[in-house]
Amino acid sequence: MDFALTEPQETIRKLAADFAAREVSPIAAAIDREERFPAEVVKRLGELGFMGMNVAAEFGGAALDTVSYIVALEEISKACASTGVIMSVNNSLVCWPLETFGNDEQKNRVLAPLARGEKLGAFCLSEPNAGTDAANQQTRAVRDGDHWVLNGLKNFITNGANADVLIVFAMADPEKKHKGINAYIVDTDTLGFAVIAKEKKMGLRASDTAQLAFDNVRVPAANLLGQPGEGFKIAMSTLDGGRIGIAAQALGIAQAAYDSAVAYAKQREQFGRPIASFQAIQWKIADMRTRLDAARLLTLRAAWLKDIKVRHSEESAMAKLFASETAGFVVNEAVQILGGNGYSKEYPVERHFRDAKICEIYEGTSEAQRMVIAAGQLR
């Protein structure tokens, strides 16, 4: 066992932390308030190689391991969770399936610009009636010559309004149920594609979440990702990795809230002494940090398993479940430690509190993670 980051991993962490402190933290409150997509930051992340961290160099990526990606993502999310999810979706949910299931032509044409951060990707699985039950795809794909024609609606699509490239799941053969689902690469400038609504959200307000419509969108046959019928498998294995990313995002949010709360507890005086000297506050701090450390270790374990190419569905689910619920716990305690100030937008914990909640929901709810974990235990 070795619980230390390697030197290259530590270098990446520091690079991410420095960048986040310099270019992300200063605007985090403003872009949250204004619901403004941080285009300039995303461009810089691309230049740093952070938008395709695990992609091979020949396809424009930074060719780093998952552990490096996870620690970088935590640092970015610590500064701004919205920026974290933009980065996570492009890396985990778009670049990864393209590199894993795409052919060389697709990797050169589609993956490379995404990995270099010149283009932005989105992952279109959720639908109005297909959330946790992702196999219930109502979007239809019909073959027409050397094209596929897509029709349907996609919901809650992160990056949806800013993306250049989409991975879209659609039902091509309803008889086969989940084995009839295909995955497609869709350019957002294709005729018939439209962003029909942008969600007004509690948190992650600088990241756009869109409802997308596909009205007779013609996709060239060359843009089928993987084999026909492989869509559901692609979606599920992508989410296995995506979960590690969301765990890292949750860790970043929680660490930021924890840091703010500790700093506050040390300087805030009541009854003539810093509140950090009261046992009630010390207990909160101990529990926050203990759970945070445990969550980080579970997340790193999942990332490490992915790096050594061992099946990691359960471990990723454990990381995601535990880290996101820990984030919920930590932000709640942080607000409590700050008291009225924690409820005010003057202090960042108010934003952390709102941002944390989604981690327990997207890329598989806590309930879905428990199903994955239980299946592993009962096998």
Binding site: M1, F3, M318, Q377
Partner: protein
């Protein structure tokens, strides 16, 4: 980052798992009922080196690394938490003070005998000194070449069969933590008597006693460290013991998970196995996740300790989280068993009782939180 065990660590774990299944598990229920570990099992543990685990090689020990040690404790505890605590107290708080703070002379005299299986016990707790260990009132008065100990000690694990007792006592008339001294006292020393064996809720196989110290004369060369080092020695010993207790708890916790999974698969209600019910699946998922989280914290602390790096905070986190996770796991496992979990025919009834003490001894959860918070506040 590397979460793999080494070959040696895996070998050790497999050997102990095999030993525990063959020699310990079949006796666990009877040991609990009888409130005793049979001498024959103690002898087998001795022959197999369980009492030499943490001792330096030069004194006949196996000097296993802390991760191996953790795996050993977990596997033993999976079979019997009572046996596990006998082994861990001996290897940590019972002997660590001598190994870490003893003079070369003390080490030469006592450690080889301990490593050979003469069992050690640790005596700090008193009626009025639990979490507040510095409130102890047993006294040690220097008289020429001997120290004279007076007082009484409580909740001494291994007390009934220990050959050696590490005893904490203070200069008469003092208070606070400065004037406390640590001694190693041999069984059979006149005046040292077992006053009573506690009748406990759990860990019934392991013996816990109250000790009387009446005019016990201890040779001056059996002082551990220097005069006044006692409190520091006790705290360091407890620090070292925490990783062991964390893995003791995890062993019970994983045994609960095993039993819960086994039961959920065979027990049918409403025409299908409990395991098919989402509510039961949720319970199993939370148990597994919680225990794995505790385990990661435990291995991190062990890894730091093996590198000689400070690990008080991390050991406290491991102990706090692992013991509480194991407590939740025992509660959930019992719940899944329903009424059967409440009867002694099912092992979870014992696990439920056994696990409770892990949140209390070698530092309560409340003390762990204070240790953690103070370190965090000092370092930030």
């Amino acid at each position: 980052m590397d979460f793999d065990f080494s070959e040696t660590q895996l070998m050790m774990r497999d050997m102990v798992r095999d030993f525990a299944r063959r020699e310990v598990a079949p006796l666990a229920r009877e040991m609990d009922a009888q409130g005793e570990i049979p001498e024959a099992l103690v002898a087998k543990l001795r022959e197999s080196g369980f009492f030499a685990l943490a001792f330096p090689e030069e004194f006949g020990g196996l000097a296993v690394d802390t991760i191996s040690y953790a795996l050993v404790v977990e596997e033993l505890s999976r079979a019997s938490a009572g046996v596990a605590i006998m082994v861990t107290v001996h290897n940590s708080v019972g002997s660590y003070p001598l190994a870490m703070f003893g003079s070369p002379e003390i080490k030469r005299r006592f450690l080889p005998r301990m490593a050979a299986g003469e069992i050690a016990a640790f005596c700090v707790t008193e009626a009025g000194a639990g979490s507040d260990a510095a409130a102890l009132t047993s006294t040690a008065r220097r008289d020429g070449d001997v120290w004279i100990l007076e007082g009484s000690k409580l909740y001494v694990t291994n007390g009934a069969r220990a050959a050696f007792f590490v005893v904490l006592a203070r200069t008469p008339g003092t208070s606070g933590h400065r004037d406390i001294h640590a001694f190693v006292v041999e069984r059979g020393s006149p005046g040292l008597t077992v006053a009573k064996k506690e009748d406990k809720m759990g860990l019934r196989a392991s013996d816990t006693v109250a000790l009387d110290l009446a005019d016990v004369r201890v040779p001056a060369d059996q002082l551990i460290g220097r005069e006044g080092d006692g409190f520091r020695i006790a705290m360091a010993a407890l620090d070292a013991g925490r990783i062991g207790v964390a893995f003791q708890a995890l062993g019970i916790g994983y045994a609960c998970l095993d039993e819960a999974v086994r039961y959920a698969k065979v027990r049918e209600q409403f025409g299908r196995p409990l395991a098919d019910q989402p509510v039961i699946q949720n319970m199993l998922a939370d148990m597994a996740t919680d225990l794995d989280a505790g385990r990661m914290l435990g291995f991190r602390a062990a890894w730091l300790k093996d590198r000689g790096r400070p690990c008080s905070k991390e050991a406290a986190m491991a102990k706090l989280f692992a013991t509480e996770a194991a407590g939740r796991a025992a509660d959930t496992a019992l719940q899944i068993h329903g009424g059967y979990g409440y009867v002694k025919e099912y092992a979870v009834e014992r696990y439920y009782r056994d696990v409770r003490i892990t949140r209390i001894y070698e530092g309560t959860s409340e003390i762990q939180r204070l240790v953690i918070a103070r370190r965090l506040l000092a370092e930030s």
